[in-house]
Amino acid sequence: MTIWKDYQLAYSLPEAVEAYHQAQQPVRFVSGGTDLLLEIQQGSHPSMQTLIDLNHIDEMRELSVIEDRIFIGAAVPVSQITHSAIIKEHAIAVSEATGLIGGPQVRNSATLGGNVAHSLPAADGMISLVAMNATAITYSPAGYIKKNILELFIGPGKSALANGEILVGFEFPIRRSGEGSAFDRVMRPQGVALPILNLAIWLRRKGPVISDIRIAFGPSGPIPTRAMQVEDVFRGNELNEETIARAKTTILESVKFRTSRMRATAEYRYHLAQALLEKVVKIAWLRAGEKE
């Protein structure tokens, strides 16, 4: 049993879509393939007749500032994102998160598109993009479609991408005065190297108050969500002990964490979520202050 039979390199989006529809089934798009190939090899994913490699499509390898937006191509290796001066300046949470995906060698192959399309509820890169309120750009024969990143998921391991629809990249606004972000996570030394809990925060300062904030925890629920009620506690308020205490209580009331066998109980996750929230929001606040 081979992992794939036909491995095709596509050089443009139309070409990739055409190849997809002409290919012998089963067929999948692949960029880094660091998760997919392992899953096939280990029997947790059926083997593929055709894999269509998207790494040679120029626009999917692009990482750039286009007017007032940052664009990250879905096939950009995550190591490049981590070390990108643009990302460090405009979305350091994304740099921090992508710097923790897999290991150093894997990060030279793995892509942000794969990290998101895999639809795992605690994918570091994905969680950081949720906090950036990124827009996902997809391509199909009908042309380009833009949607909020949260619309990409329908269940754990299941993306909302249609057959033959390609995730092209992500975009979000450049960093403006008073804005900052941060990402952190807690691991367990034993067992699978997935975070017990991760957290990304983006916020905007206006004088002494947080005028806007976005918070994403993973893994929380079958598909990624924002911790909207916790955000509401911060929004329009000063960052002080009282706000933080209320936010922590709101985590207990509004964010869903579950027990995963041999990894963490829900109680431990709630405990960590509160501690991480305090740590990460303070870092994001300080960073926001650096750009006022």
Binding site: M1, T2, I3, W4, K5, D6, Y7, Q8, L9, A10, Y11, E15, E18, A19, G33, T34, L37, L38, Q41, Q42, L51, D53, N55, P77, S79, G102, G103, P104, Q105, V106, N108, S109, V186, R188, P189, Q190, G191, V192, A193, M262, A264, T265, Y268, H271, L272, A275
Partner: protein, 938 residues
């Protein structure tokens, strides 16, 4: 869409145009098609980093990189780093500074991960020629080294960086050497196989290919308990490309194997019990590994399930189902000294507690691989990295019904062993398939099979009760151990015996009573693993010593000093220690360094002034570990030395090199005894046709036994040459001396090559053999000397606990090991560093999880081992209390270095936050729960 006809790639500067193969990954292209076997496959699941190559400047994992994806790219492998310089037959190889540095720093041990380490480091230095330690750790995070030469690797990368920047040769490291070193022994010396290992030229079993070789796979039960009712291999046999499918019906002679107790079935027959998930039901040989794998899926079987016995304590219950006809008790082991009831009566304080240790996997980076073939003379040859070649031969011959001389085990380089390559893995199965097909057969385990099949470290439950006087004098220790030896005996009895005899610690205790029950269960077998039972009991004893110190308000170091074994002490088995007991000096050395670093109160918790949620404290522990088999087992090793026609001495012994550095030890001894440098000594190991039996490479025994055999063989060689030369030149023997390639006879110098050739002309092959017998030992229960020697150690570990998340790190370790005499200081450094990191792994990282006999941690991604991030700063002291019979006083080091690390860490955690860890590994969530409970109580 460009239709791709061929794959065009550049590898190490050479352009290739190759046809495309379906589903091919880059590592297969490199290893199979281009025969660049320096790129290794450790896990094949993107975890270990051994397969790292550099593509267009970036390090990537070639095992999961589609070969087609490399189209148009430039690839550098380990074979491409060294440069050949010069021309016209006058070429020589110039190593890359990284390769030089890895050799200089002793970063090369078993060598299997080294190509990956060097390639990852190479990519780092190409981008950042002056990396800081944190950059090196970041880059090498997922390039695993189980010998855990991480400190040396970091040092080597820094030294290479300096060399690249300055253009000067690599700056050698500072290595603590023997205090009593001689001309050769006790001096820093590089491994004889180091250059091969850093250039990718070193050959391990899976790197070998033979013409017409078949690939084998084994159908495993994958259920822990049941009776095999039906087995259907017909579909597998009918699959195109399948050359043979064997079942128990094809096993015609011995039906079981085993190191001492032969209770492990070669294949499970219909009507016979399946006792663990790894039991073999059928063997397949096919043209390719893919076909063999496909055939496994076509083999079907039915079984009647049986209740699963999943722990030693459950197995001990008389109500529990019997796994073997003989019952569930492999062995009840007892140690008695004095009268414990009297001892507890004398005690002012008595403490009791139960400790639990989990199973561990060796996780050597090289998975098991055996290749069998028949020679033209119909001799069966097996190429395998084995810790006990002669035992392999005996077991293979018995199952195949061949006389032993018709079986030849040709030992290959071993990519890590740690005890996990002592039992039969694929040797017999490959041999059976070769006998059936008459073709060479390779049986390579994948990582999952390796994790499921081979014996693990024993899980134990240890109930311990300790009595002491107010001043700390121990009066009695009573211990009950339950050890889970799994489905088959393996070395379970020996391991648990060592756990038992070491279960009152390296202390003089007047009254000791220990019962140990080594129990069969439906878990994977448990057997030898570095530390060999002593790791488990030391965790219990050393935890109790700290608890006792706290209760008595004594300094934990003082408490240990008060009770420490010393010359003249009598151990719990009744052995009087007459020499070589360096424990007190180890304690002193560590204590002094500890106070210098941490002031007078190292065990008091210190809050980080910057971050109040980080608390640090030191912990302390000591240990001892036997050298050699002991217990009345005849412990011998053979060695042979020949003066070759080219003037070099060749040493031969079937002792195994697992990365620990035995060849260097043997080279140094011969060089010392025969007046040579190491370049004039070559080593041949582990070939049952060419090398005499060195016995098992286990029990920290090879430096001692094979070291002695080689030392005495060298002296015999000197005598032989001296008497021959004395006669030939008519000169008195005292006037003959040997030095680097020469014999000096009076004032005349003669090349050794000339001497060898002259002797051969006269029909005399200058060759001597020597069998060394270690001093006789007594079986347990008879008193007297149970072991020829013990090694001792003390360690202090600093832990840092995050009181919010419960996370624990170990930033610093201080260690002193009494090794008798440090023959090979560079190898010793590697063993000590590796032992400490493995100890940190056992304490904090490694958890082999079983549920009702099923292996949950069946991938390296689930059974994690320490990465380079776990490397502590290590301060190491060599303590040398020579043992009377060891070569130059040396005794074992391979295991002792791991043992005290674990309790030193858990004791430090207690000192930091008041949480007593009594179950391994440390669980950060439990730490948080206990801290919350403490808060509530307060």
């Amino acid at each position: 869409m460009k239709e791709m006809k061929n794959l065009e790639i550049t590898v190490n500067g050479k352009e290739y145009t190759l046809p495309i193969i379906e589903g091919e990954v880059l590592s297969d292209l490199l290893r199979e098609r281009l025969r660049l076997t320096g790129t290794k496959i450790g896990c094949n699941e993107s975890e270990c980093g051994s397969c790292t190559v550099v593509i267009d400047g970036d390090p990537v994992l070639s095992c999961s990189y589609p070969a087609v994806k490399a189209h148009g790219k430039k690839i550098t492998t380990i074979e491409g780093l060294a440069k050949n310089v010069g021309n016209n037959g006058n070429t020589y190889t110039v190593l890359h500074p990284l390769q030089d540095a890895f050799i200089e720093y002793g970063a090369v041990q078993c060598g299997f991960c080294i190509p990956g380490q060097i390639m990852t480091s190479y990519a780092l230095l190409e981008k950042n020629s002056t990396p800081e330690v944190k950059d090196i750790q970041y880059a090498l995070k997922d390039t695993l080294c189980r010998c855990a030469g991480y400190p040396s690797i970091i040092g080597a990368v820094q030294a290479a960086s300096e060399s690249i920047v300055t253009g000067k040769p690599v700056h050698p490291p500072i290595v603590p050497t023997s205090r009593i070193s001689k001309r050769m022994v006790g001096q820093v010396s590089h491994r004889p196989d180091a250059i091969a290992k850093v250039t990718g030229q070193a050959i391990y079993s899976d790197d070998i290919q033979f013409e017409g070789m078949l690939h084998a796979r084994v159908k495993r039960a994958m259920i822990p308990a049941g009776i095999l009712k039906e087995l259907d291999v017909s579909e597998a046999l009918a699959l195109s490309g399948v050359k043979a499918v064997l079942t128990a019906k094809d096993v015609l002679n011995a039906k079981t194997h085993g190191l001492f107790i032969k209770d492990w079935p070669v294949l499970i027959d219909i009507g016979e019990p399946i006792r663990y998930v790894g039991d073999a039901l059928a063997l397949v040989a096919a043209d390719t590994r893919e076909i063999a794998s496909q055939a496994l899926k076509l083999i079907t079987f039915k079984f009647d399930p049986l209740p699963v016995v999943s722990s030693a304590v459950q197995a001990h219950d008389p109500e529990t189902r019997k796994i073997h006809d003989t019952g569930n008790l492999l062995k009840h082991i007892q140690v008695n000294k004095g009268s414990v009831s009297e001892g507890f009566n004398d005690a002012d304080v008595i403490l009791e507690h139960t400790y639990y240790t989990n199973p561990n996997d060796h996780a050597f980076i090289e998975p098991e691989c055996s290749i069998a073939r028949l020679t033209d003379e119909n001799k069966l040859e097996i190429f395998v990295g084995s810790q006990i070649p002669y035992s392999d031969r005996e077991q293979v011959a018995a199952v195949l019904g061949l006389p032993e001389h018709q079986v030849r085990i040709i030992g290959q380089l071993i990519g890590g062993g740690f005890g996990g390559k002592e039992d039969i893995a694929g040797q017999i199965h490959a041999a059976l398939l070769t006998m059936k097909t008459k073709k060479p057969v390779k049986l390579l385990f994948d990582r999952q099979e390796s994790l499921i099949v081979h014996p693990k470290r024993h899980a134990t439950q240890i109930d311990i009760k300790v009595g002491a006087k107010k001043d700390g004098q121990l009066t009695a220790v009573r211990t009950e151990l339950h050890g889970d030896t799994g489905a088959y005996a393996s070395l379970g009895e020996k391991v648990m015996t060592r756990a038992t005899t070491h279960a009152s610690g390296p202390y003089e205790v007047p009254h000791v009573d220990i019962d140990c029950y080594a129990m069969y269960t439906n878990n994977p077998p448990a057997g030898a693993f570095r530390g060999f039972g002593v790791m488990q009991s030391a965790f219990a004893v050393e935890s109790m010593m700290d608890t006792l110190a706290e209760r008595l308000q004594l300094d934990p170091i003082e408490l240990r000093r008060k009770n420490a074994l010393h010359v003249g002490s009598v151990t719990n088995t009744g052995q009087e220690l007459r020499d070589s007991v360096g424990l007190l000096e180890c304690i002193e050395k560590v204590e002094k360094a500890l106070h210098e670093k941490a002031g007078p109160f190292p065990f008091k918790p210190v809050q980080d002034p910057e971050d109040p949620n980080t608390v640090r404290a030191w912990g302390f522990a000591v240990a001892y570990k036997n050298t050699g088999l002991g217990g009345g087992a005849p412990d011998k090793a053979g060695a042979e030395i020949e003066l070759l026609p080219d003037g070099k001495f060749e040493v031969r012994s079937a002792s195994a090199e697992l990365g620990q550095g035995l060849p260097t030890v043997l080279q140094l001894i011969v060089a010392e005894e025969l007046g040579q440098d190491t370049d004039h000594v070559q080593i041949l190991l582990s070939d049952t046709d060419l090398t005499p039996d060195g016995g098992p490479t286990t029990a920290s025994r090879q430096t001692y036994v094979t070291g002695n055999a080689v030392k005495f063989a060298s002296r015999a060689m000197r005598d032989l040459l001296t008497s021959e030369l004395a006669e030939r030149y008519d000169i008195s023997p005292e006037k003959i001396e040997f030095k680097e390639g020469l014999a000096q006879i009076d004032r005349q110098e003669i090349q050794l090559s000339t001497i060898s050739q002259n002797l051969r002309k006269d029909g005399l092959i200058p060759k001597v053999a020597y069998t060394y017998w270690a001093p006789e030992t007594k079986p347990l229960g008879q008193g007297g000397d149970m072991h020829v020697a013990f090694s001792f150690a003390a360690q202090a570990a600093l832990v840092e606990v995050n009181t919010i998340t419960g996370e624990v790190t170990v930033p610093e370790v201080i260690v002193a090991n009494d090794v008798g005499f440090a023959i090979n200081p560079l190898g010793l450094k590697g063993q000590v560093e590796g032992g400490i990191v493995m100890g940190i792994g056992h304490a904090l990282v490694e958890d082999f999880v079983l549920e009702e006999g099923m292996v949950i941690t069946d991938r390296l991604a689930k059974y994690r081992i320490p990465s380079i991030y776990y490397t502590p700063e290590i301060t190491s002291f060599i303590v040398e209390h020579p043992s009377a019979d060891g070569p130059y006083g040396a005794k074992g080091i391979g295991e002792i270095c791991l043992i005290p690390t674990i309790p030193a860490i858990t004791n430090a955690i207690y000192n930091a936050i008041g949480v007593r860890v009594d179950r391994l590994p440390v669980d950060q969530e439990k730490i948080v729960i206990e801290l919350q409970q403490q808060k509530q109580l307060a």
